[in-house]
């Protein structure tokens, strides 16, 4: 499913999107399908599935730990695409990974693999708009979304460039810093949402872990909420994982719905 279709569908329902991140293969390749299904059951609208990289410099300790578990569990890009191919979900899938894995596979091959296995979008946290030209070319060619991040520190000139470059949705980094579940939500979120002038949907991530926060975020005007560390924490615990993933997704989605649109 295309990301834009999902957002259009939600728009009609006057509902914000829940974008749920987990790392593929965490802690083993076998579990991922079940976890994804649980998230979908709970109400996730888009799944952001991490493809683990050995040196995840843009991730916080929680997700870094998940990535390490996945790598120790034997994850590779080949297995990743196999897992993705086996998923029978009817919502958009987005791959989140670092540029070296894409570069090494070959930019075109990577994008083609995304298409073949049903991935609609790509997020590369260490790929700046400046360096993204080539990958963006292939994404356009094969009709895959290339999703960029913007931060409170992003200057106006960079903002323009990023908004021109990106498709699917814009990933708003709610506050300075890197991923990691936080207890409260920065006032800067609203400001950032207002600064990002685009018709592309805006999803806010970094630091959201419960329904109340999700609600607040949607009320700032955002079109979606991205939650990662909170799910990865559940996986890390190893206890009743599918049930708890589903429950958290549900709580978040309810918060989002409560906020209306």
């Amino acid at each position: 499913m295309k990301i834009s279709d999902k957002f259009n569908e939600l728009k009609k329902k006057r509902e914000g999107a829940l974008i749920a991140y987990i790392c593929a293969g965490d802690p083993t390749p076998e579990g991922t399908k079940e976890y994804v299904t649980a998230l979908v059951r709970g109400g996730a609208d888009i799944i952001e599935l991490g493809l683990p990289f050995s040196d995840p410099t843009a991730d916080g300790p929680t997700i870094q730990a998940g990535i390490e578990r996945a790598l120790n569990g034997g994850m590779t890009p080949d297995i990743y695409f196999k897992i993705v191919g086996s998923l029978k979900v009817h919502i958009p899938l987005v791959v989140m990974t670092y540029y070296n894995l894409i570069f090494k596979r070959g930019l075109e091959k990577f994008v083609k693999d995304c298409v073949s296995f049903g991935i609609s979008g790509i997020i590369v946290p260490d790929l700046s708009a400046e360096e993204s030209g080539e990958l963006a070319g292939f994404c356009k060619q094969y009709n895959v979304d290339l999703i960029f991040l913007v931060a409170p520190t992003t200057t106006e000139s960079r903002m323009k460039r990023i908004l021109a470059e990106g498709t699917g949705f814009v990933y708003l980094v709610a506050r300075m810093g890197v991923t990691g579940a936080r207890k409260d939500i920065a006032a800067s979120t609203r400001e950032l949402v207002e600064r990002v002038k685009t018709t592309t949907p805006k999803a806010v991530g970094f630091g959201i872990s419960n329904g109340k926060q999700a609600s607040e975020i949607i009320r700032t005007g955002a079109d979606g909420v991205i939650v990662g560390s909170a799910f990865v924490d559940i996986i890390a615990s190893g206890k009743d994982v599918p049930e708890r993933l589903e429950a958290l997704a549900r709580e978040l989605k309810e918060g989002i719905r409560a906020a209306g649109k």
Partner: protein, 395 residues
């Protein structure tokens, strides 16, 4: 062959592969560095600190006994005599001064064995700038003397308990800190690596080494050397001594750590010879050569010399190697150890194990004629920090 400042690349290498949160800081740094790099006031002040605080110029010493033993006329560039015991301070002084000119109040850095962290702490103290150094928790235990040194000089050492608790995790944590504090904080990188402008800026700050060699060798020999040999981890001491000769008829040898052999597994390389055996990739914000497996996962590198133990290399070196301007070589752990002992015994100079790799290459290559008649070796640091390691090895 010199690079335009406006470009962020060396051929296809280099660039700025960093999270968006950091891009403004990187842009600001690029701009500010551009502003001050040729500023006479900035440079005069930097020269002052290099001379009076760091002890520059470092000598260029004709190693008579070693020349005889190795069969080629050898000059040693004595970075081992620089304050702190290595070339590292040339760079941290430059960046710390820039931090002040940029009006930032805080320096952060990451360190592995603690050499760069110590140099940051020194520079931070010299300029009275608060300095915090991220270090893998496991490294803080292994290198407790360097931790103590940093703390003595007023730096805060932050043990990183995530992941493998080593350099890699310290880098991640420092990046996170920078992302959260870009407005007030300068992130000090210790080699010619990372996103633009670091590779260029660190190379410029380290170029004082090669500039001095130009003057010194003309005084002593009335001509340039036939070759210059430098060990290469990230590549800052190598670029520092090479760069001022880049347009001259001088052969430049970048000697990497051959470790215990050229073997590689799925997760590890037994060496750190990135220029020699690495493949193109993107790591730590730059497009460069990288030790990686077929999927692009970065390998754990290995070397007896902690400072060479890095799976990447400066992008400019990757570029210069591709176009044939520098010659990538490597020396194994055992060869470096052997050369370490040679220099101690023959000249009364205890070199860093890093620098010993350069010595070792000269030892094996001198007789081939490849190095010509006069060779300059960069003794990038002193070996006092390595005594325990060497003691633990059989010669």
């Amino acid at each position: 062959m010199k690079q335009e400042l406006k470009l962020t690349k060396f051929g296809k290498y280099g660039g700025q592969f960093v999270p968006e949160v950091l891009m403004p800081a990187i842009e600001e740094l690029t701009e500010q560095y551009e502003k001050y790099k040729d500023d006479p006031v900035f440079n005069k002040e930097l020269d002052y600190y290099l001379r009076d605080f760091a002890g520059r110029p470092s000598p260029l010493y004709l190693a008579k006994h070693l020349s005889k033993e190795y069969g080629v006329r050898i000059y040693l560039k004595r970075e081992d005599l620089v304050h702190g015991g290595a070339h590292k301070l040339n760079n941290t002084l430059g960046q710390a001064l820039l931090t002040r000119y940029m009006g930032k109040k805080r320096i952060i850095a990451e360190t592995g064995a603690g050499q760069h962290g110590t140099a940051c702490a020194m520079a931070g103290a010299a300029f009275g700038i608060k300095t915090e150094v991220y270090m893998g928790a496991r490294d803080t235990v292994r290198q407790r003397m360097n931790v103590y040194r940093m703390e003595l000089m007023g730096a805060k050492v932050i043990p990183v308990k995530s992941g493998s608790q080593t350099l890699k995790d310290a880098i991640n944590e420092a990046m996170r800190d920078w992302a959260a504090n870009v407005e007030t904080t300068h992130y000090m990188i210790g080699s010619v690596v990372g996103p633009h402008p670091y590779p260029m800026m660190v190379r410029d700050f380290q170029s004082v080494i090669g500039k001095e060699v130009r003057t010194q060798i003309m005084e002593k020999e009335g001509r340039f050397p036939d070759s210059i040999v430098a060990c290469t981890g990230g590549g800052s001491n190598a670029m520092g001594i090479f760069y001022p000769f880049i347009e001259d008829d001088v052969d430049l040898f970048a000697v990497e750590a051959g470790g215990s052999g050229m073997k590689v597994t799925e997760k590890e390389a037994l060496h750190s010879a990135t220029l020699c055996t690495g493949e193109e990739g993107i790591l730590h914000g730059m497009h460069t050569k990288v030790l990686q497996n077929k999927y692009g996962q970065i390998l754990e590198s290995s070397s007896i010399a902690a400072g060479l133990d890095y799976a990447g290399v400066g992008p400019e070196l990757a570029y210069l190697a591709d176009i044939g301007r520098i010659e990538p070589r490597n020396s194994m752990d055992s060869e470096a150890l052997d050369a370490f002992h040679d220099l101690c015994r023959l000249e009364g100079i205890i070199p860093a194990l890093e620098s010993s790799h350069a010595l070792a290459y000269v030892k094996k290559a001198a007789s081939s004629g490849e190095l010509g008649d006069i060779v300059v070796i960069n003794i990038s640091g002193r070996g006092d920090k390595d005594l325990e390691t060497v003691m633990g090895m059989k010669k």
